[in-house]
Symmetry: C2
Subunit: 543 residues, 2 copies
């Protein structure tokens, strides 16, 4: 027996129409590539998105066609999150920080027909354009006055001129199946080519609803009183859904453009009254360093959402104690957005500050809709006892079931292979112990590189730390500690090891320490351990 409810699809276009109608006065403040700040409201943005939707149609796009963007966090990029999917086209957000060969591969692989670019990505695009096989035209995301000379082998349209040519009077967003593809984000694999995660309208709306619930964000206020600031790029997992959640909750949205210098981020946070931000720990390591050196504090920022690798405890503690900012960690990945939440269980108010910090340090708990479990190397489920460590698996209506043109990523039981090693405690808290590929297997036992890095980072002179496995004749693998010192610091390896010793098991202690001027970073701001492993592949600690 079926329910008797209207059969209407959940579509991304519904979000922005709703925001324009019901939160029309909420602002979007976005730094232009040129550095100035552009301001308008959701009510202003909506008809522009509709006109761009019509422009895409005029350029020949059809349902399911891919529209690529190679762009930073600007208001026009935000507009594209609605203009393309709203029509049933698929927005493919390409990460400009990838290597040129990867860019060429994924744009060709996704068969993007159009590529939206900005002033910051133009040199990159000019370099790769001859190798782009499916691109029929480029759209430069600015006004005509701000367009530089471009040298591209296909027609180049001006974004504002495309808009100006359209009239959206009376335009209604089309209705179609909610399982239609909405956006694509390629995730740079550790081996082989990047793989495309294909989101659906249904998944995007459900993620938005779950991420906007009472319980998702600790210490939140009403949506209309929040100011959200995705430091995470829009091309990184849909900007952690903030281009969808901010309009939904009526929050002001602040976008950093291309400029991630700490002084520019700070200027936006203070100038725009940001209350919630989002980004990986590396932003904060750099920003905190800058704040300390410049004696700055925050006046409105209350919480920052982080994801991916576990943050250093010392940093989380410092952010809370010295800056009043809750650093809230959740587990997530391109394949599984909005799957854990950082909020605490019922009754947590009674915990001590240190116990609360313990719970903040883990990667949250599964959100409604998502199931998490850990399995051993044979795929057998392990207990959630806070002790057993296994391969983390995820399942749910907004978890990826495969990749663009690639039927893999899911195990025999239908669960997503996350690539993370984790333990889950009886209360459901997930603690990542490693990336499956980063774990160090010494004498048959696992050593967590993350916990070692955390111990090293608690030394005040350490700016960045990475632990990698190096080959060892007797133990198969042993940990090597790599360090980037804080500016001006001269700490030596032995001092750091002495500092770490009380914090970790003795047999986990790194066998050696090396210092680097800087770490190679991935396009999404993470330490590129693969490159470090390659550089130190012949390093011996058992010689």
């Amino acid at each position: 027996m079926q329910g008797l409810m209207m059969d209407m699809p959940l579509l991304i276009s519904g979000l922005i129409k709703y925001a324009a109608d019901h939160h029309g006065e909420a602002e979007v403040a976005a730094r232009e590539i040129e550095g100035d700040i552009h301001r308008y409201t959701y009510a202003d943005a909506h008809p522009r998105m509709q006109r761009m939707a019509l422009a895409l149609k005029r350029l020949g796009m059809k349902q399911g066609d891919r529209v690529g963007t190679l762009a930073f966090n600007t208001h026009r990029h935000f507009e594209m999150f609605y203009a393309a999917p709203g029509m049933g086209y698929v927005l493919h957000t390409v990460n400009p920080r990838l290597f040129p060969d990867q860019l060429v591969y994924i744009i060709n692989h996704a068969e993007d027909r159009l590529l939206f670019i900005d002033r910051a990505t133009l040199p990159l695009v000019e370099a790769i354009a001859p190798r782009l096989e499916t691109i029929e035209a480029f759209v430069f995301m600015s006004s005509r006055e701000r367009m530089p000379e471009v040298n591209l082998p296909k027609p180049v349209h001006c974004y504002e001129e495309l808009l100006a040519a359209e009239d959206a009077t009376g335009f209604e967003w089309p209705l179609f199946d909610e399982k239609t593809a909405s956006t694509i984000c390629y995730t740079s694999g550790t081996t082989g080519n990047p793989k495309g995660v294909v989101y659906s309208h249904r998944a995007a709306i459900l993620q938005t609803l779950v991420c906007s619930s009472f319980e998702f964000m600790p210490g939140h206020k009403e949506g209309v009183r929040e100011v959200m600031f995705p430091m995470a790029p829009l091309f990184h997992g849909n900007g952690w859904n903030m281009p969808f959640t901010a309009p939904f909750t009526g929050s002001k949205l602040v976008l950093p453009g291309r400029n991630y210098e700490p002084d520019k981020l700070y200027e936006l946070i203070e100038g725009e009254g940001v209350t919630l931000s989002a980004g990986v720990p590396s932003f904060w390591l750099i920003l905190l360093d800058w704040l300390g050196r410049n004696g700055k504090k925050f006046s409105t920022l209350r919480a920052t959402l982080s994801s991916g690798s576990a943050p250093p405890r010392a940093m989380v503690d410092k952010l809370k104690r010295e800056y009043g900012v809750d650093y809230i960690q959740a587990w997530g990945m391109t394949e599984a957005l909005g799957c854990t939440m950082p909020s605490m269980r019922p009754g947590s108010d009674a915990l001590s500050d240190q116990e609360k910090l313990d719970r903040r340090m883990v990667s949250g708990r599964a959100c409604f809709g998502t199931e998490l479990r850990i399995v051993d190397d044979e795929g057998k489920a392990l207990p959630h006892d806070g002790v057993a460590v296994g391969h983390l698996r995820a399942r749910g209506p907004w978890v990826a079931s495969g990749y663009m043109k690639l039927n893999e990523g899911v195990d025999a039981d239908g669960w997503l292979i996350t690539g993370d090693m984790a333990l889950i405690d009886p209360l459901g808290h997930v603690s990542l112990t490693d990336r499956s590929k980063d774990v160090i297997k010494s004498g048959g036992e696992w050593i967590s590189s993350i916990q070692l890095e955390d111990a090293a980072l608690s030394h005040p002179d350490v700016l960045q730390a990475a632990v990698i496995a190096v080959t060892h004749e007797k133990w198969q693998e042993r940990p090597l500690l790599l360090i980037v010192r804080r500016q001006g610091a001269t700490v030596d390896g032995q001092t750091i090891l002495d500092h770490m010793r009380p914090k970790v098991a003795s047999w986990w202690m790194p066998d050696a320490v090396e210092f680097l001027d800087e770490f190679p970073m991935t396009g999404t701001g993470k330490v590129q351990k693969m490159a470090l492993r390659s550089r130190f592949k012949d390093y011996r600690v058992d010689a």
Copy 2:
């Protein structure tokens, strides 16, 4: 092109599994019919629901079969919201306050196979049981010790004995299409027989998500810090979704059993630390009267959600000023739960207290997912200018598309006919002016009975007010004001009219006032205007 996300249904069983796993320690405190308070947690409730699911299966239920409840707000009734739909059966919550003939009609019409009853509804059930054509057995919702002698023509099972016979070890809730029917609630029509609204799992989950969003409830806290108290009965629009939203957000759930006496409600609110309640204005008129006479205040209650008819402004103002409680009004009906929200637009913080109160007095704004509009008698859309009054229509994925075995209720354009008259202002606020059937048409113009009642209720000696249309030779219809005085008050009609005169248009002023000892009330706590109209059908004001 389809998205590549896992194809998994949104099911009600997922909510309680999630609550048991992730909010397991949150409490449910429910008054038993016998008066004592039963306490347990979501972790305790979940396996009981699973065992009841197995018991229903053992009793022969099959997918789509209807399981009726004729019961008050107890923990066992709460359990039934998951036990039956979780298996793919359909929970039919029958309103025990309906007339016996209506009860017989809807139980037969829904073809309920089982009927779950409690001590409070037993006399009613004994009276109608011989006329129930499809009921195969009854389940008495208590332990064996508390079961009285029953006299029913079909087998009577004991709820706790059914549970005790089942073992849910290893039980997993089944998966099925999310559009499957989950619960049924009949709405007592103004003419003809009651009509059954059939909710789906999909609609219930989406309603839960939307009603738990940042922006839905003004001044909310994290879910796990809330204590929710549906004074609205569970058989009234799924208890306004609180049996779903409280487990989802990890909030403590408080249920009043059958006892709606003001002292008993107050005891629960204070004793259980209630922060949010929900119920129609009539609860509050009575509770406020009692609070005033007993000199009581609230120590934890922060907000109360109301729906349906507009509340008296004086009451809303008093609740805020004297009791610190936000009375937050939303529009809703059995056919359209979770369709408007009472939260304010961005920037509303800057409004004066009186302006804020103005916005609190209206019926909220459409939630994400729902569209509202007003149309004239011919179905033509009217402007949202805050002036035009028309028939309110609603559309969205969790709005009813028809009724049980009855293909009606939706207009030619696919919108729900709500039966309400309303205006919508340019900011999206909905103001109900009347029920379509209650509106008074005088000389071709509409007079709002609600606004007249509001004006009368602002007189301190008036406990209840109802305005109905009576026939008038010249003007077709004119308003008659009916009054129930506050206990001990002796105010006369002329005094009330004088009090109203500055508040309403002169041609709206009632032509006469009559006093009643009490009003006939509907099963859901509303004034039964149909009965009043019938009683005064020959009343003349133009004689």
